[in-house]
């Protein structure tokens, strides 16, 4: 039986998959060979497809590489690794950045495999790339942001849910998962699999919207350069200045901010916490982001946000007092931390419902534990036997 199983698979394909898995974990051939107690030349021969790997060897290698034998031997499994391109970045020595890049790579592979299994082709509606021109990048960033808004028919309306906009309107792959707090987001692009963005679920929805705007700017100006965005990272390079301004102009366009500011503060002699809370809610960004934007647009004095901070800041309780039921969940609440993205969840549910992948396969593929996965499916009502649901007419 074993002969029939492993013999049916092309050894060069298995070897290539093993090499990619080893390199993803930055394990040398020497260490991998020692891990399964063979000579380095034997491991090399396995990776080059010149020697068939035995089941006990591939079990040991899977354990060493933090994957499963099934992921290595499943025909449809996707073996693209986005991580190596992140290693060329200046901040690549940061383990948190490496882990975030790895998670983005894994989730993207999962989505591509699910699309292939379900026979779904992802529709892309990417705007054209706008490489940086000579001159002030801030001017170009604002022009490009407003142009994209027009293209999407947004006018100056607020975009309170950037994740859905990026996923559903542009066809960018977006994932929201808990990362180390100092990481805001990760971006990568590959011609074959497209653009993908990972946002930190530990950050508030407003902050995630800003990060998504920044990463969108990166996608517009330099999509072939991957990025790990750190929290409170300065805008040192031209690319980063462009992405920062693009994000602010896309999420909080100057004309809309000026107009809404005048409406909100009408009749008041002073800027209060209530004003900032309402404006932040309207634009779907953090209180700090809207305060900084008001400063940038010279609608309030520079240092206004710091003044509020020195006076005790703006608490979540104060936000709830002003917004009531309209307030979004606090950062780090259970709802906030729940792994999301509409599309990946639906694809996973469809694959499970059709019996294409098991609970164990999906849990590993999506980096979820079994109970999280069950909760996700049950939230989608996919385990329900609702006989009254209307049939599709397609």
């Amino acid at each position: 039986m074993i002969a029939a199983t492993l013999q049916s698979l092309d050894p060069s394909v298995i070897g290539e998959r093993l090499r990619i898995a080893r390199e993803a974990k930055q394990i040398t051939q020497k260490d991998a060979a020692a891990g399964i107690q063979v000579a380095r030349t034997t491991l090399l021969a396995i990776e080059q497809g010149q020697r068939r790997v035995r089941i006990d060897e591939i079990q040991s290698l899977a354990r060493l590489y933090g994957t499963s034998v099934n992921e290595l031997l499943r025909h449809e499994a996707v073996h693209v690794d986005l991580v190596p391109r992140f290693r060329k970045l200046p901040n690549s020595s940061d383990p948190a950045a490496e882990a975030a890049a790895q998670l983005l790579s894994d989730l993207t592979r999962a989505e591509v495999e699910l699309e292939a299994l379900l026979g779904i082709e992802r529709r892309r509606n990417y705007p054209p790339e706008r490489p940086l021109r000579a001159g002030d990048v801030r001017v170009q960033a604002e022009q490009d942001a407003l142009e994209l808004r027009q293209r999407l028919g947004l006018g100056v309306a607020p975009v309170t849910d950037m994740v859905t906009l990026l996923e559903m309107e542009l066809g960018i792959r977006v994932y929201v998962r808990p990362l180390e707090s100092r990481i805001s987001g990760v971006f990568a692009y590959d011609d074959a699999i497209g653009a993908c963005i990972l946002l930190n679920a530990r950050h508030s929805k407003g902050r995630r919207n800003q990060t998504a705007g920044h990463e969108l700017g990166h996608f517009i100006s330099a999509r072939n350069r991957p990025e790990v965005l750190h929290r409170d990272e300065g805008e040192m390079s031209r690319e980063e200045r462009y992405a920062g301004v693009f994000g602010r102009c896309f999420v909080t366009p100057s004309g809309a901010v000026r107009q809404k500011f005048q409406e909100v503060v009408a009749g008041s002699a002073r800027l209060t916490r209530r004003h900032l809370i309402v404006l932040a809610h309207f634009f779907g960004v953090s209180r700090e982001a809207i305060a900084r934007r008001l400063e940038e647009l010279k609608l309030v004095k520079t240092g206004m946000w710091q003044w509020f901070q020195d006076e005790g800041g703006i608490t979540d309780d104060q936000v709830r007092q002003v917004l009531g039921d309209l307030a979004t969940p606090s950062a780090n609440s259970e709802d906030q931390m729940r792994p999301t993205t509409l599309r990946l969840s639906l694809l996973a549910a469809a694959a499970y419902g059709q019996g294409l992948l098991s609970e164990g396969q999906l849990a590993r593929l999506l980096h979820l534990d079994r109970v999280e996965l069950r909760r996700m499916f049950q939230d989608l009502e996919m385990l329900d036997d609702d006989v009254n649901a209307p049939p599709l007419l397609l």
């Binding site: 039986m1 079990q59 019996g355 109970v371």
Partner: protein
Amino acid sequence: MSTPLLSSFSSGGVRVLDASAVINLNATDCAHDILRALGDRIVVVDTVVDELAVGTRTSREDPAKLQDLVAASAIELVTLGQVGSEHFAALVAGRASETLDDGEAASIAFALESGGAVVIDERKANRICRERFPQLRLACTVDIFLHPAVGAALGRERLISAVLSALQRARMQVPVHHLASVVDLVGVEQAGRCPSLPRSVREPLRQK
């Protein structure tokens, strides 16, 4: 549909728990009493231990709880032999729709190798077993809860509490043929608070 565990257990042999069953039993906080009541050789394959230890972000306590059960001799850890490894290879290599993750495959492979029964809640795994190993005895976690020896050892109130914990904390799945028994046990009102039960059970009036 799985073969009821009662008949599987009555013939003796090894009972192999998959990760899905371990997680459900751990949620009850009385897994030791439940397994002891069964009075059989209960095993978990080392691959399942690896699976439970990897890739969780929510700091679930399943690996530690499983180790406690092993230390208390309620569960025995086992490794696949030659025959089991061959079954394992056949279950993990190939098309996605015909393969399983390592833990699921190893649990089935050990049951095949040892002539025992496998306790696995996974629908796809059950389908593959029925098609490829019709002689293999299959059971699910609910079979364990409904075993008379477990009911006798825990008493009705503790049994209800254990089943509710598995349903609510571990989101245990209940096969269709066991739905009526589970609702009878926990009551209609409590069943309505279990998100892993089908809506037809949680909201019976709304469905009519």
